[in-house]
Structures are given as C-alpha cells and as structure tokens.
C-alpha cells in the first residue's frame, strides 16, 4: 500500500511537472498590426497616410457637422431637427453645446495621424518620391485641420511631432498668430513636397495646388496681400483651369476636374457623404437641414445660372430615380422654400447618391481671393474677378473697376453653401469692411430673425466645455463664454 502511494504521488508530480513545461502564458495577437511590425515599408507609410483623410468622412467632421458652423450666416436657415443647432444660429450657445465638440476631436485625430507620418516616415526605406508625397500630404492635412480649428475657435493647442514624442497634449492654447505661423510653415513644406497634380487612382489626394490655394486664403485672412497674390498666382498660372461650366464642380461625373484644388472624396456606399442626406428634402430621402434663405436667392442676378446650379427652385424637375423618376420640386418641401443642390443627386434605382464630394478649395475661390487682395491693396482685381464672373454670366457681364462690394457679391454667389460666407464676414467686419452687428441684427423674417452679435466674443466659438474641464485649468476658455 505504501508503495502504491509513493508511485501515485510521483506520477501526480510528474503530471504537474509536464504541464508546467507548456508555454501557455504567451498569447498571440492574431491579425493585429503592432508597433513592432508596422512602419517597415512604403506600403505602411501610404496606408497610414490614407488614414489621415479618414476623419473627413465622419458625420462629426466634414461629412456634415462642419457645415453647422456656417448656419449663422445670412444665406441659410439651420432647419433640420437638431436642438443644439438653434443656439448656434441664434448666437446664444454655451460652451457645453454638443456641436462645439463634434469636430474638435476629429481635427486633432487628423493632426495625430499626420504627426505619425512626420515622425515615422522619414526612417522608412521606400521610394523617395512616394515618401515626399506622403510627407507633403501629412503637412497639408495637419495645416488644414489647424486652419479649421483657428477659424472656428481662434487659438487652440498646437500639437506637433515633439509633443507626441513627449506625450504632451495638455497644452495651453496658442495665439492666433502662432497658429497662423504654424499653418503657413506646414503649407510651405507641402508646396515643396507635393506633386503638382495627381492622376488615375490618386486623384483626390492633396497636391501642391491644394497647398498653394489654402496658403492664398491664409494670407488673405492675415491681410498679407502681396503674399496672397503671389501664392494665388501659382494657381492662376498653374494647371488648374476653371471648369467650363460652374455646375461641373457639383456633378459626380465631373467633380474631380482640375478647378477643384482639394475636396473631400466620397464614394456612394464605401465612403458615403452624410452631408448629402442632411441637405435634401425629407420626402426625398434627406433630413432637410440648411435651407437657403430668400436673402441668398435675391443676391443672385436673375440671369445668373449659378442660382439654378446652387439651389433647388420651385418648379424645377428633379430625377429621383427608381419609381419616383422626374419629380417637381415644390415649396412645401422646405421651410424656406429652397434647398441647396450642390451636394444632391439621386441614384438611377432610387435613393440618394451619397457620392458627392465636398469641395474644400476651388480655383475660383483662389481667383476671388487674389482679386480681393488686389482690391484691398489698391490694385485692380478685375481680371481675376471677371474670370469667375464671366464664366457664369458671359463676357458681357464683365466689370471694370471692381469694388470690394462687387467682390463680396461675387464670393457670396459663387461659394454659397461652401462654408465661406460666415468666416468671410468675420474677417471683413474686423477689417471694417462690413458691419456684422447690423447684418446679423437685421430682421429678415422667421428664418433669419435678428441676432445679437457681440464683438467681444462672437468672432470665435467657445472651446468645448469638456476640454476645459479635462485640462484642469491649462486650457482657458475664449473671452466672453
């Protein structure tokens, strides 16, 4: 019996010992890319560069929410059914308004992804031309995210490569001129690294024209008019002709024509635009936001074909595809009587085609910026202004001795619904060109009631309350909120 016990105990021990030998404590991260096997080749760099563009397509960013910052302007009524939009349009928002937060994180995510390229790509062995392109895209997109942050919120924290490496994100907000200096420096890098154009499967990536275009706009905002003219001439004299027809910029087949210096690329089903659904009538499958105001309609000259290309007008026949086919647009589809048309069309089998790109900067915009820079610096801007104007209205409509008022009109009708007007008005008011208190204070009816614009705070929106809270006193709220 004793013997048996000993044998058994030994056996038991052996069993346990054998089990211990197994390496059961190593788990395998199946199918996961990890820090140890990424950043090894050009494909990784291209893939990570592609990822910088991704936040654009989120509803919380350019695919829709970004447009909400423009509902204050006298071109459109917020419409839709988002409670938080009311206080934005009425200038009564507080820092915890949901809208203020939606795009904040997406812009910084874009910056974070760009920083990853700028940190890691230089050490990857790969084709130098391709590497330069990727670095250029990263610089451009980082600049673009910062550009939007600074026009919306004013100064915000600048997060660069060194901050990422140091894990330093809780930074005080930069001044507006620090932001602009950083944006300028990134855009200049982008103009040097990016190719002039893209073809085939790369169409839609940022190219040097995208960077020159945004740089032109930055300089105009900074009132560095000579620099603006020089940067803008890179576009005017470059391979970026205006499309023959204004409407081509807003049709899916022609939306990537050379005039479009940079646009958010949408492909129905794959990267569907949420903005299309937001700007179309509800009975037609949309959600009925951003109704154009009569005030905008009145701004168009009666013969201006841009009005029809920009707006759905009562009586217009629209092809809704599928069972519905050609359908008349009627006033009751909208609260104001109109909808924007720039981002809308329907699939042949019915349902919205959500493949409409959102133009971010067009050569026409740059022409008008150069014209503005010339007019505001005492030069003649007729050539650039007329290039845009006569495309739509014909040579007979050319203006001689264009004034700033002509320029303001032209920007308004050319770029309606493209998120320019409110921000244009902000800089023009600061320059004493317009009286924003009067423009926003005028009573133009139920959909454009008088709003109180307070110059001590309303040039910029409030920084999201959440970020103020989390920063624990580092991030200071904008004045007046």
């Amino acid at each position: 019996m004793k013997k048996a016990t000993i044998v058994l105990s030994i056996l038991f021990g052996v069993l346990i010992f054998m089990s211990c030998e197994e390496d059961i404590l190593e788990s395998t991260p199946y199918g996961q890319l990890t820090s140890s096997n990424f950043w090894v080749n050009g494909e990784n760099v291209v893939s990570a560069t592609n990822a910088i563009y991704e936040p654009f397509r989120f509803e919380a960013f350019w695919s829709h929410a970004e447009h909400t910052f423009s509902i204050i302007e006298d071109d459109q009524f917020r419409a839709g059914d988002h409670g938080e939009d009311g206080p934005i349009e009425n200038l009564t928002f507080d820092p915890s308004n949901a809208q203020l937060q939606f795009g904040w994180g997406q812009k910084y995510e874009m910056i974070a992804r760009a920083n990853q390229i700028l940190i890691n790509a230089p050490d990857v062995e790969m084709d130098q031309t391709l590497k330069d392109r990727c670095l250029g895209e990263a610089y451009f997109l980082r600049a673009y995210a910062m550009w939007r942050l600074h026009v919306i919120y004013g100064g915000t924290p600048i997060i660069l490569e060194a901050d990422v490496l140091a894990g330093e994100y809780n930074k005080p907000k930069a001044t507006i001129s620090e932001m602009q200096a950083q944006i300028e420096s990134d855009l200049v890098m982008a103009t040097q690294l990016l190719p002039e154009n893209h073809t085939g499967d790369d169409v839609g990536r940022a190219h040097s024209g995208s960077a020159w275009g945004l740089l032109t706009k930055l300089y105009v905002y900074m009132e560095r008019f000579e620099d603006a003219i020089n940067a803008g001439n890179q576009i005017i004299n470059g391979p970026y002709p205006l499309a023959a027809d204004f409407a081509e910029n807003f049709k899916i087949e022609t939306e990537n024509n050379p005039e479009v210096l940079f646009s958010i690329q949408f492909l129905d089903q794959w990267t569907s635009s949420a903005h299309t659904i937001h700007t179309t009538p509800r009975p037609w499958g949309g959600w009925d936001f951003h109704n154009p105001l009569q005030n905008l309609v009145d701004e168009f000259e009666p013969t201006d074909p841009r009005m029809d290309a920009t707006l759905f007008m009562p009586g217009e026949m629209v092809d809704l595809g599928g069972d519905r086919g050609m359908t008349e647009y009627t006033t009751d589809l909208s609260q104001t009587g109109y909808h924007f048309q720039k981002y809308a069309s329907w699939r042949p089998d019915g349902g919205l085609n959500r493949g409409h790109n959102i133009p971010v900067i067009r050569a026409a915009d740059v022409y008008l910026l150069v014209a503005e820079a010339k007019i505001r610096s005492g030069q003649n801007g007729d050539a650039e202004l007329n290039a845009v104007r006569t495309r739509a209205l014909g040579d007979a409509a050319a203006i001689t001795g264009a004034t700033i008022e002509d320029l303001i009109h032209e920007r308004r009708v050319e770029l309606a619904g493209e998120n320019q007007r409110h921000f244009d008005l902000m800089r023009w008011d600061r320059a004493g060109i317009v009286d924003i208190v009067a423009i926003y204070g005028e009573d133009r009816g139920a959909f454009d009631p008088p709003r109180v614009f307070d110059r001590t705070r309303h040039y910029y929106f409030a920084i999201p309350q959440r970020e103020i809270d989390v920063s624990g006193g580092i991030l200071i709220q904008n004045d007046g909120y």
């Binding site: 089990s19 592609n50 990822a51 910084y108 809780n170 970020e467």
Partner: protein, 1028 residues
C-alpha cells in the same frame, strides 16, 4: 500544446490503472435501516465513516450496509432537511437509525472553492441559496434567480428584454472595469450563468470575502459564484419528473404622453412665448388628429413557457441525473423573443471504494432577437414615446406611417415599422463538460484530477433592410454576420488531506495546480445589395457586394496557469483558522508582469463551544475575521501592444482605399487590479439554531484600478491604454437573518431577510475626473462624472431652484448679475432658476456639482416560505433605498425645443405667475438651457417590490397513488406583482447602462440612468410538476 495535453490524459490513465492495483484492508459489515420520525423509510441518506471519505447510502427502503474497520468506528448519518446523527459502532452489527427533521441551519454543508465545509466551521463570508427557493420562477437566466436572496449580492438588470443578461455585484461595484464575479459551474471556472437552466440548480454559493475567494486568485476580486447542479443520489429510486409552466406578461407601467390636439397647442405656444412666428406646420389641422398611441401599439402581451423533463436515480456504485428543458419567452415589445433548449447529464461512479469517477455535461442552445432599446436617438421604446400621435401606424395605402413629411416630426422611424423589420438574431450553442477521478490514496489523502471543456459557438445575423420611406433611411440593404467558436480547457490536479490529531486538532489541507487555455476563432462580414429581402434570401451569398471595410477576424488565445492551496486548522471546535494562497500567471500581461500572488487568511472563534458559555438563549455564537488580496484580470487583451488597425475607409480616384492608423497606444507595464478585503463577522444561532443571524462588516479596497489617463481630445481619438492607477473603496454592513420553524405537525415555515448597506467611494484617480459615458441623446448631455471622493458615476449638473415666476425675480437674482443673457432678454419668467454656486453672477460650467448618487444605501430582500398540509407558498420581496435615478428620458419628455411628442405633464407647464414651479414654460429657443443636466431630472428612486409569489398545491397521496404517480403539484407564480416607489419613470429597477464595448466607455461607467430601456414585465404563470 495539443500533444502535451494528450500526454497528460494518458498519464492520468496510467495513474488510475496503478490505483486499481491497490486493495484496502480487513473490515466488517454493518447493516440497518434509516427512517423518519413517523416510521417512513428514508432513501438516499448519506452514511459516512468519520475521518474517511468512505460511505454508503440508504436504498429505496431505507436499508443500508457499510463496511467499517473496527469497533471504534463512528458513522455519520446525514440527509438534507434532517438533523445529522453521529453514532459509534461499538460491537453492533445492525444499527437502525431514526432521523428527525432538522431546524438547525448551522449543520448545513456549504460548497467552497475546491471542497465543502459545514456552515458552523466556515470562517469566510459565504452566502448560500438553495435551488428550490427559485424553482420555476419565470426567468430566462439563472443570475436573475439570485436576486434578493443574499446579503451583499446585488443583481441588476438594465431593462427587461427577453434573455437579457443581468449584472451581478458582490459587495458593491468593485471597479470601473468589468466587475462581474467569477462563475464556477460544477467546478469549471469561467462559465456563464446564462447557460444554466435555473431548474437544474441544486444550490448557489456566493463567496464574498477574500478568505473564501482567494483560492480563485486573479479572477476573484469581484467575488465568486459557485453553481452546483442537481445530482442523482446513491440508492435513489429511479424517478421521472415532468414540470411545465406557462403564462403571460404585461407592461407594469406606461408613460402618459400628449395627444395630438394638446401637442399641437403646446408646439404653437413655444413660438408665441419666444415672439417667433408659428411654423405653418403646426397650424395644419391634420396635426391635431389623434391617431396612434405608440406605446400601446408597441407593447404587447408577452408569453412565457417552460418544460423540464428529468430522470434521476442511483444504485450502490453509480448515480445519475439527466434533464432536458425548454424555455421560451416572447417579450413585451413586438418581435422580441428568447428561447433556450438545454440538456444535462451528471453522473458519479464508485467502481472501487477508494475510487470515484464522475462527469458533468451540459448542452445549451439559445436564440434571441435583440431590439435596440438603449439609444436616445433611435431606441425603439424611446421612439414610441416621441413619435407623433397624428401619424398612423399604417397609411391608407398600407405603407407604414412616416415622419418624412417634415422636420418638425423628428428624425424618428415608425417604431412599429422598426419592430416589424428589425432582424438581429443571435444563436448560441454551449457545451460545458467535465470529467474527474478521485483516488483516496491513504486514509484522509485524496488526489483528484479534473478536466473540463467549455465550448461556445456564437452566430449573430443582423439584416438591415433597405429603407426609403422613413426618415432614417438606408440606401443599401445589408447582412452582417458575426460568428465565432471559442473553447476553454481547464486541467486541474488537487491533493487534499484531512486528519484529526489527538482528537482536538483537526487539519485539512488542499493544494493544487491548474491551467486553463482559451482560444477563440471567428469573423464578421458585411454583405450588401440583396436583390430580395425575403427571409430565405438573408444569407451571405445572396448579397452582391462585400464591404471589405467590414470584414474582420475575431481571433485570440489566452492562458492562465495557477498554483493554489488552502489550509484549515481547527482546535477543539473552538478556534478555526484558514489560510489560502494562489499564484496566477496570466497571458493578458507582458512578460515580467505576469505572475500575481494572492494570500488570504481568516480566523474564527466558536464562543459558544467554550466551557464558560452558558447563555441558553444563544445556542451558538461565532466570531470571524479575515484579510486577503484578490485580483481582477478581466480587462481588455493585449493592452501592452501598440495596435494599428487597417480598416480606415477612404476613396481616391473613385476607388475604394484603406488606411491604417494606430488605434491603441501601448502600456507595457499593465497588470491586474488588486482588491484587498478586510472583514469581520458574527454568526449567532438562537432558539436551538432555528434562528440564525449573520452580521458582517467589510472594507474592500480596489487598488491599481486600470484607468485610461485623462484623455484630452487634443491627443486625437485613438484609444489610450489603461494604467494601474485608480483606487476605489466599497465598505459596509451585511445582514442575513433566517428563521425556520413549525407549528404543530402540519405547518412548517421559514422567513428570511437580508440587507446590505454599502458605501461606494472613488478614493484615488489619475485625473481631475473621468467621464461617465454615454452622454444623453443628440443634445449630448453629460449626466454623471467619476471623481475622487464621490461614489462611482455620481450624477453631475446644475442645481435647479424652481422657476422664475416674474421679471423682477430675474432682475433681482444675484446669480445673473453678470450674465449677458439677462440683458439680452434671453431669460424669461417660467425658465428654470439655476444656482450660481461659485457666486460669480454668471450661470456657467463652474456652477455644476454632484446632484445624485446611483448607488443604493440599502439593498434588501425578504423571503418566506410556508407549507401547510398540501399547500405551499413562497414569496420574495425586493427593495432598494437611498439611491437616485437620472430620469434622462424626462429631458426628452419635456424639451419643447426638440421635434418630439412630450410627456403629459407638460399640460401643467408654467403659463404665468404661480402656475408651476417645476415644469418650465415651453420655448422654441430655450435660450436659458432649461433642459441642461440638473436636479430637475434626478429623482429619489427607492422601491419596494413584490418580486415573486408562488402558491402550490400537491395532490393528496391517495389520488396520486391511484394514478401511479408519486407526486403531483400544481402551482401559480406571479412576478413583479406590485411596486411601491416615488419614481415617475417606467421602472425603478435599472442597472448598469454603459457599454464597455464602445470607445471611451467603462464597463461600470454609468448606472441607473433611464433611457427608456426595455421595461420589465409583470408575469403570471401556471404550472404543474409530476413525479413518477
């Protein structure tokens, strides 16, 4: 790895074959009969030879035989519900025994980790719940059966969807991360209670303190729930049983909302109040036609049905229990359902006196349709509460009514359309099985090997149809299929030794080694563009395009290797000591941080066993105390790796492209969370232990809680890995009182109560606060926060102080002295007065404070049972007090700024001085922010609920005998029969809201927030049990 496992199995066989060669010593035979006090035979009585593991069981006629080594042998006769008797053999060859029905609860055996103990010997904190207490309660899942049964054990169910899992909180919420206890089913650690048919359960033991739980080491920080299923008994007559119940359920409560004419009137008033032109839409008489009560349309009568079949029996050497069950529940909300088929076979065999071999096998298949009832933008009940009452369910042409006409109707789809078309079917198949062999090598020393397998096959099909005529439309129909197989294998080897030295020193030691390997292999895929949406076309190859951005794998493996041991020492039944230790190595952490060590000890003093004890009224008194450390490794895998994900969709050149971005920033130092529990307890038996009182106090400190550092969005949206930084304390009292008594011969009854008084406090954080997600609805309202010094996820917002009744109140409010809104006329009489807590004359973010605690001060249960002749009755009351609910649904119910229907209470809104001090004026601009997070929406929500009531009647023996049956019992059960509460929402019984799967959400980041969850139902059932 596989080879080695095979080797282990082979070695066990070898071990067993060696054992068979071992023959025991000389002995002599004792026979006898066991009967009850009325002289009836008692079958299945366990007869144990004391100090050994050897024993026998009485047969159907109460007869037994057992071999004993000599005259000094002592036999222990025990039988459930009867007092245990200990008899010295002496020289007798025949020993007849009469057992008397016991009222002494302290003689009960309690299952502990890797063993069992007499309740009077236990030094840790353990609660036991008998299966018969919750038999035939109409619940899908066994976790719900535990509700209200044990002190310190809180079962919360966030809504009443059929088959919805409940959350189990033992001694409070122990961490922001997963704080579910470890579930051990028949010795298999890591199972899920949802797979167990409640009617298969013999008992559930809940291990609450460190001393009891530490033997499960790094998975025990949140307590351990041990489930023991029904076994056949030795020498039990072969019996068949059939049990079936069926019943129906109805909504406990619906919420009053406005009818169409009143709604139109109030919608118009909000414009005139703000001096804005009335939107023409609200002047249309069409909008004043009341057509639909959406709650009425959506909430139907639920149906529940259950059938169980059982076969049980046993002989000298083998006993077995086989059961099959089918449970089917159709929920209150249209098209919600859950069903489960289960089968179980348990058997034990004793081929030799020193050898026991056994197995447990459980097969479960379940299927359910999950409706979205949690979203405050598209949830189905939320939609029903908000959808316009003038919209018909169906238009005249047969199509579904829709809100597409106008933005004033909100971005809501017809909830009936949603219920009719939502198709999210999950099937789960689970096999849980184990085999064990136990060898008694020498007297008192047992070696045991246990092999277990837990296999799950999960298959979820979500079909989303093309929607063109509703506001939330979808251009392309799509099928998403998620599938995985997961298995977990556990191999355990234990050695236990038990010996009584010098009559007073009782020693019991157990030591073991185990390893557990889990592997999952699965995928999910989304296919789009189905030519037909017919049910027979909803398979992946019927779609015409694959969405490559939504093709994902779901593969992981993990391992846990452990060494553990426990030592129990008793001196003279007076002093009790337990020491437990476990070392766990886990693959969840990087090399170097893998091994955790978890010690615990406890001691007890049976004061009443001291010679000096002469208090007759207190028949037993035991003091216990303990301390120990436990771990929680139940956190996200692979956090020590920087993870990139390649599914970022972008388009260039009208081509589909993908991008790769870093989604996780690694933390190589990540490790388990540690809980340190200190506790003391008193267990007193009064009236000959008919009345037993357990009172305990504990402090449970969670250290190294895994939390992400404060994440400013300036960092981007990538997932920031957790760090071991937070601390949390749960502390409080637990009380259990149980009384078992009888009146005369006909009445036996028991009454019990349990209560826990637990305080939860975050004691240390790595950042000023952490967010309690989700935020509410489109408005993105932050409802709660996690900060140091407050309970987890305390409600957060402004303090509302009634409504401004007139302009002078506004003009004289010092809280608005510097508020520009006053000057601009943006604050009007009828708006909410918020308190300017920081006194800066401005209502701003700095005026927010903590406005409610979701954690109950008291959780209690009262249960009773009564048997009178052939009648039986079982009742359970449940209650919580000292807790608040954030009635977030009421934000949407009152917010006139939003395009929704409103609560009926809006009828009593402020319309002039003195008309209301709590329901604000209606306003289209809401420039005062009346519906921000405030005390206006936080309610005291204690409740007292008659949870279950069962009345049964057993047919008299005369009738059953004639029918050839041994027992026939008819019963009726009611669930959620009545509730006493001041809470104004649908149901005060809410639970954990946050969804751990979502970014930035903690598993325990939000509690008791009313999102219009799937409501619990009132259920009535009738049933019959037949034994033959």
């Amino acid at each position: 790895m596989k080879n080695l496992h095979n080797k282990s199995n082979w070695c066990l066989l070898l071990l067993l074959s060696f054992s068979i060669a071992w023959v025991s010593a000389q002995e002599r035979q004792i026979t006898g009969k066991v009967s009850d006090e009325l002289g009836g035979p008692l079958p299945g009585v366990s007869i144990l030879l004391e100090g050994t593991g050897q024993g026998a069981t009485s047969d159907f006629d109460g007869n037994y035989q057992i071999t004993v080594p000599g005259a000094n042998s002592v036999l222990v006769f025990s039988y459930l519900g009867f007092a245990t008797q200990t008899i010295s053999v002496g020289n007798r060859a025949t020993i007849d025994v009469v057992l008397s029905e016991e009222v002494n609860q302290l003689d009960e055996f309690i299952v502990v980790g890797y063993g069992s103990q007499r309740k009077s010997d236990v030094t840790g904190a353990i609660s036991k719940v008998d299966g018969e207490d919750f038999e035939n309660i109409p619940v899908a899942s066994s976790d719900l059966a535990l509700q209200g049964r044990a002190a310190g054990v809180q079962i919360v169910r966030n809504g009443g969807a059929p088959g919805a899992e409940a959350n189990i909180r033992i001694r409070g919420t122990g961490t922001l991360n997963n704080s579910e206890p470890l579930i051990v089913i028949d010795g298999f650690p890591g199972g899920t209670l949802e797979t167990v048919n409640p009617n298969d359960i013999e008992s559930i033991e809940v291990l609450k303190d460190a001393s009891a739980s530490a033997i499960y080491g790094t998975r025990a920080a949140n307590g351990v729930v041990i489930v023991t299923t029904k076994q056949g008994k030795v020498n039990e007559r072969l019996s068949f049983s059939v049990n079936a119940y069926t019943g129906f359920s109805t909504a406990i409560k619906t919420l009053d909302v406005l009818d169409a004419p009143t709604l139109a009137e109030i919608k118009r008033e909000r414009y005139t109040n703000d001096g804005v032109d009335i939107d023409a839409f609200w002047l249309d008489p069409e909008r004043e036609i009341q057509r639909t009560d959406w709650q009425d349309e959506l909430l139907e009568t639920g149906i529940v049905q259950n059938v169980d079949l059982g076969i049980r029996g046993g002989g000298e050497k083998s006993n077995y229990s086989f059961s099959m069950g089918y449970y089917d529940e159709k929920g209150l909300i249209k098209n919600s359902f859950f069903n489960r088929a289960s089968a179980r076979l348990n058997s034990t065999h004793r081929p030799k006196e020193w050898l026991t071999i056994g197995q447990n096998l459980q097969l479960t298949s379940s299927k359910d349709n999950a409706l979205n009832t949690s979203s405050a933008q598209s949830g189905i009940l939320w939609s029903a509460l908000r959808f316009h009452p003038s919209i018909p369910v169906f238009n005249e042409d047969g199509s579904y009514g829709s809100s597409q006409e106008n933005g004033q109707l909100g971005d809501i789809n017809n909830p009936i359309f949603t219920a009719d078309t939502e198709d999210d079917i999950t099937t789960r198949h689970n096999l849980l099985g184990s085999v064990f062999a136990e060898v008694e090598v020498i007297e008192g020393l047992k070696l045991k090997a246990n092999f277990g397998l837990d296999l799950t096959v999960f298959d979820r099909d979500i079909f989303n149809i093309r929607i063109t005529d509703q506001t939330r439309n979808r251009n392309n129909n799509e099928l998403t299929r998620q599938y995985f197989e997961q298995y977990s294998i556990v191999n355990e080897f234990t050695a236990a030794y038990k010996k009584l030295f010098a009559e007073k020193h009782n020693l019991e030691v157990i030591g073991g080694y185990s390893y557990q390997v889990t592997k999952r292999d699965g995928f999910s895929v989304r296919v789009e563009d189905f030519g037909s949406e017919a049910f027979d076309q909803r398979v992946i190859d019927a779609g015409t395009s694959v969405n490559i951005g939504n093709v994902n794998s779901d593969v992981f493996d993990e391992g846990l290797e452990s060494v553990f041991g426990r030592l129990n020492y008793q001196y003279d039944n007076r002093y009790l000591f337990t020491f437990t230790y476990r070392a766990d190595g886990s693959s969840r952490f990087a090399d170097g941080n893998r091994w955790g060590y978890f010690p615990a000890f406890s001691a007890g003093w049976n004061v009443s066993n001291e010679a000096f004890w002469n208090v007759d009224s207190i028949s037993s008194l035991k003091l216990t105390g303990g301390w120990g450390q436990l771990g929680n490794q139940n956190v996200r895998l692979n956090q020590f790796l920087g993870v990139f994900e390649g599914g970022d969709r972008v388009s260039f050149g009208d081509q589909q492209n993908l991008g790769t971005s870093q989604i996780q920033i690694p933390n190589p130092d990540i490790s388990w969370e540690t809980s340190e529990i200190t506790d003391i307890g008193i267990e007193a038996g009064l009236l000959n232990n008919q009345l037993v009182i357990d009172l305990g106090y504990f402090i449970k400190d969670t250290k190294d809680m895994l939390l992400p550092p404060a994440s400013l969005l300036a960092q981007g949206t990538a997932r920031v890995t957790d760090q071991n930084v937070g601390e949390l304390r749960n502390s409080g009292f637990e009380l259990e009182i149980n009384y078992r008594g009888s009146i005369g011969e006909d009445v036996t009854y028991s009454i019990g109560g349990n209560a826990s008084f637990i305080k939860n406090e975050v004691t240390s954080l790595n950042s000023p606060f952490l967010e309690s997600r989700p935020f509410y609805g489109r408005q993105n309202v932050e409802l709660a926060r996690i900060v140091e010094g407050e309970p987890l996820a305390s409600f957060f917002g402004w303090e509302a102080d009634g409504l401004y009744q007139n302009t002078s109140e506004i003009n004289n409010d010092p809280g608005l002295a510097n508020d520009p809104r006053r000057e601009q006329g943006l604050i009007q009489p009828g708006d909410v007065r918020f308190r300017d807590l920081d006194g800066n004359g401005l209502i701003d973010g700095d005026d927010r404070t903590f406005i409610g605690n979701p954690h109950p001060g008291v959780v209690y249960g009262i249960n009773g049972s009564l048997k009178y002749k052939n009648f039986d009755l079982n009742v359970l009351f449940l209650g919580e007090a000292g807790r608040q609910i954030y009635n977030a649904d009421r934000i949407a119910g009152l917010d006139t700024d939003a395009p929704f229907n409103l609560y009926a209470e809006t009828v009593n809104r402020w319309t002039g001085e003195g008309t209301s001090n709590s329901t604000p004026r209606v306003s289209i601009n809401d420039s005062n922010g009346n519906y921000r997070s405030s005390t206006l929406f936080v309610e005291d929500a204690g409740f007292f609920r008659l949870k279950n009531l069962t009345v049964g009647y057993s047919l008299p023996d005369g009738i059953t005998d004639k029918a050839g049956l041994s027992k026939v019992r008819l019963y009726a059960t009611g669930q959620n029969i009545f509730t006493i509460t001041n809470y104004s929402g649908m149901d005060p019984e809410l639970g954990v809201v946050s969804n751990a799967g979502s970014t930035n959400q903690f598993a325990n980041g939000q509690f008791n927030v009313d999102y219009a969850q799937f409501p619990q139902a009132r259920t009535w059932t009738l049933g019959v049990m037949i034994d033959f």
